[in-house]
Amino acid sequence: MSEKSSFKVRWMGKTEFLYFTHGKIYTVLSVEKGWYRIVDDSGEDYLYPPDQFEIVEE
């Protein structure tokens, strides 16, 4: 079950190596079971719970 709508989010959590950088904007490739598929700082796409992302562009 995946929604293919692409939108942008900002990571509001702390900067963590191979995860995300605080304040950086990422593209959500799809929403799968409510989780965001995002290419993180490792350069690969993974699924993340939406809790600490802020939607900046629908």
Binding site: L18, L47, P49
Partner: protein, 159 residues
């Protein structure tokens, strides 16, 4: 009746090749290495490891088994007692695919261990997603001296 004479005994000067003060290794003596050593070597060299459990506690001992670092306040809801099944190394030591240099160096700098010892692994685990047990392909990094880190969900395996 003795078959040796005193002269025979006095002519014995030790074992051929033996050096005074130098002990032979367990391998030279034909002894088997301790089982712990065998297991550690086997796990370090294989690309397929044994399944392992996600610890129940979320305390210090368990934090390495969280999908996300607790510092970020994001915690992947592994179902208590779930086991990561079919763990496989797909990049890094013991694999035909190398870890990217900046990843290996970064992990070593941020977490510890040797860059050459880091492995990228995958397996299958069960997460609690909105109260429902959900199978997922999980990825993580590991290094023998510092353990497993940076768990991530790659795919949901349930429809």
């Amino acid at each position: 009746m003795s078959i040796f004479t005193l002269g025979d005994l006095l002519r014995h000067h030790g074992v051929k090749g033996q050096k005074w003060g130098v002990r032979r290794t367990p391998e030279q003596l034909g002894h088997k290495p301790p089982i712990k050593e065998v297991l550690e070597k086997s796990q370090a060299n294989s690309t397929m490891g044994a399944e392992f459990a996600i610890l129940r506690s979320l305390g210090a001992k368990a934090k390495n088994y969280m999908v996300l670092d607790p510092v970020s306040k994001q915690e992947y809801p592994f179902v208590e007692g779930t086991k990561i099944r079919n763990p496989t190394v797909f990049a890094g030591k013991g694999s035909s695919k190398a870890l990217r240099e900046e990843v290996a160096q970064g992990l070593s700098k941020q977490i510890g261990g040797k860059p050459s010892e880091w492995q990228h692994c995958k397996g299958i685990g069960t997460l609690d997603v909105d109260g429902k047990n959900t199978e997922a392909e999980i990825h993580w990094f590991q290094e023998p001296s510092v353990g497993k880190h940076r768990f991530k969900v790659k795919e949901w395996l349930d429809d």
